[in-house]
Symmetry: C2
Amino acid sequence: MFSIDWRPNKKDRMPLHIQIMEYIKSKIYSGDWPVNTKLPPQRELAHIFHVNRSTLATALAELIADGLLKSKIGSGIWVANNTWSVLASPKQVDWNHYVDSGICLPNFPAIQEINRSEFNPANIRLGTGELSPDLIPSAELKSIISKIPDKIQSFGYEEAKGLLYLRQQISQYVRDLGINASPASILIVSGALQALQLICFGLLPKGANIFLEKPSYLSSLKLFQSMSMQFHGIPMDNEGIEPAPIRYQNKRQSTSLLYTIPCFHNPTGILMTKQRRQDVLALSQQELLPIIEDDVYRELWIDAPPPAPLKARDQDGRVIYIGSLSKSLSPGLRIGWIIGPEPVIERLADIKMQNDYGSSSLSQWAAAEWLASGLHQNQLRKVRAELRIRRDFALEALNMYFSDIATWTIPQGGFYIWLKLIHPVSMQKLFKTALDNGLLINPGNIYDALANHHLRLSYSYAALPDMKQGLSRLATIIHKLEHA
Amino acid sequence: MFSIDWRPNKKDRMPLHIQIMEYIKSKIYSGDWPVNTKLPPQRELAHIFHVNRSTLATALAELIADGLLKSKIGSGIWVANNTWSVLASPKQVDWNHYVDSGICLPNFPAIQEINRSEFNPANIRLGTGELSPDLIPSAELKSIISKIPDKIQSFGYEEAKGLLYLRQQISQYVRDLGINASPASILIVSGALQALQLICFGLLPKGANIFLEKPSYLSSLKLFQSMSMQFHGIPMDNEGIEPAPIRYQNKRQSTSLLYTIPCFHNPTGILMTKQRRQDVLALSQQELLPIIEDDVYRELWIDAPPPAPLKARDQDGRVIYIGSLSKSLSPGLRIGWIIGPEPVIERLADIKMQNDYGSSSLSQWAAAEWLASGLHQNQLRKVRAELRIRRDFALEALNMYFSDIATWTIPQGGFYIWLKLIHPVSMQKLFKTALDNGLLINPGNIYDALANHHLRLSYSYAALPDMKQGLSRLATIIHKLEHA
């Protein structure tokens, strides 16, 4: 839980353990580490401070003797006191109680670790679902940003649904995908994740039923689970999610909807066929089951353009459509959109206003100028060509290193290969061992608790030599764990 | 709930009512207005379309006869059907059911109306809590934005707590306010409202007790109420919130905290004195009651700098501090920050990652460059001088038009004057009548249900001549309503 960016200065004449004591005292006195804060394990602290274990132990022992820290057997070291409290009052706010009682569940520990470890450049990121930095068109984006000062009309709040100029650009953009949406039926959001959050809080009562692919990206989010939504995982075949089990399970005793990623599904990479799309739409009509179509990977096709979106064939306003610039252009812009019936969009816009008063004006202008510039189609062509090279490279490396220990899907687009280990190993142990060896992976069980011998590999992020070396190292680790 | 940006073309040879019919049909066929959507009242629709009531009535009557619309006595006109459903199936997703059953309560109708009507430039905004567009330093901001392309290092995701460079700038900035905060104890958020959202979901169980000023900005938000938090409104005097009633009420049967706006309180404008700050901190220590210090108006002092923040005297990590650039620089950047003990900041950063994967990189870079440039102090000087002129002007206008119908506070900074009408009038009627007369006001009852003859006036937004004319017109309206 700690991000310590300090370490003792080995050239300083003050002994290392004293420097560490002074640092820890300063964190405690300032209130940054309040009473009852748990410190990281000693092994980790020694690693962070770049000192050996005995130096650290000396520092901690003195602080425990001073009464500032306390050691609880089997549960590590805690902040016990601060000078203020020693002098004046023994009573402290127990923030851990507040943190633990919050409504939202914390992220999976593995995801928290990934969110932290991604910023360590020494790690090879074999699971990251983002474009490699060299696939983000920085030069073109910079030229777009340099145009914003002449265009931007206001540094004030934008309309609840977002900048009209951007909504007009998106309306045109999705028309080419076959979707007929007026700017009034589009809501700008800060990425697809926020779209899901607004839907969770705006359209569903607690305990609503969500049908979704098994495994699914949605299962890796704690958001819906924090609100007690009931997930019903539905099996997939190589054409996409199977409609029959939904019909069987959907008793409509309560509010329900279907969440699906029909294009280059996260995490399996599966592309829903045209026929399956028709079947799913028919089911949605018969069962009165609204659909959330998460289509953020659509443009990243490699072999052939995917079939039209479900939303393109939706004449009754049964589909809510989510798109984004994060996967095809730049995550840092934080720009996505929701398209749906106007009453739904109005409701979600109201929740968005309650959350953050709308997305950054700067980002909205940058996205609008980008789409208006026509540069997006060039970018997509470039990304598709590069993804083809990367996918083929990754498949070759898998053939080389994994053919005796795993099977996998061959994606037609998107970022992901869904790897299934032939012999199960502990996901937790694999994740940790890989990280200790400088490899960041996305374990399958965060997408489906039962997918406990699966990995989501991504060929979009790591540089090719790193990818090859990383996969080779990963195979060795798996071999060892299998025989442990 | 509708934002119709279309109107019939009076120069077209097609009759107006036919044009309207075609427009409404297109909205229904496209799914934008699904079955069971309620149309705006006829009076409002006629106004939107710029046609007289009988033209509109003709169009609606034909659509009702076609079976596309239906009229429910006493509750207006609804979408009944669409061609698809007429031909194939009578069953439609009832989106109203989804919208109504969502977890989050909708905004107050008055706030929804304000959010919409602010974008009609014909309205004089007498309640808007924002800087007037001419107080936003557009030229300087544009020059900062033009520097971003040379500085920005990545268009990818930022760290969970936000761009380190921005956190370093904020750490320096708040040091001048007396707050000692390392970058690790700062979380970047998309404005102070998002800070409150993260606190609500991250630190509090359902039904937690929130002590707050009565009236309070927080009461105008439905967020905490959606999560069943218990609000305990505490009276204020002219030194700020009164500690004694908190001590009396705080039984600590459940998780609780104190939310306060000590500087130029929203909506009353009251500045908490130094003595009262000490009393509140002492209470917080005795009662183990954590404090959320919402300090977004601090820099907007007119007569003298306010006393140091509560956070500056917080040695035990009992205060969570919220700041923002929205009130002093630009709301469109959507940049604010939370400062608190590291375990709290880590928890809130995790929730932020679950919400939107962090704030816009562009906005974070712009904010960091702005703070690093040193331009902020110039901006604050300019804003303070202008707010003095605006406040004095508003008080003069109030003396002129309101001395026989209201009393009011004299703020020493911030944006707001809290107006109390001598004779109560219906807030709803006043709000509506004012809006019909092109005046947008913030009724007091959204800040406290019992403040039903109060208004929050703001002198920060409207141009001076508009402000004067608006206040004059408002006084006339109140006079009329008093005698109605």
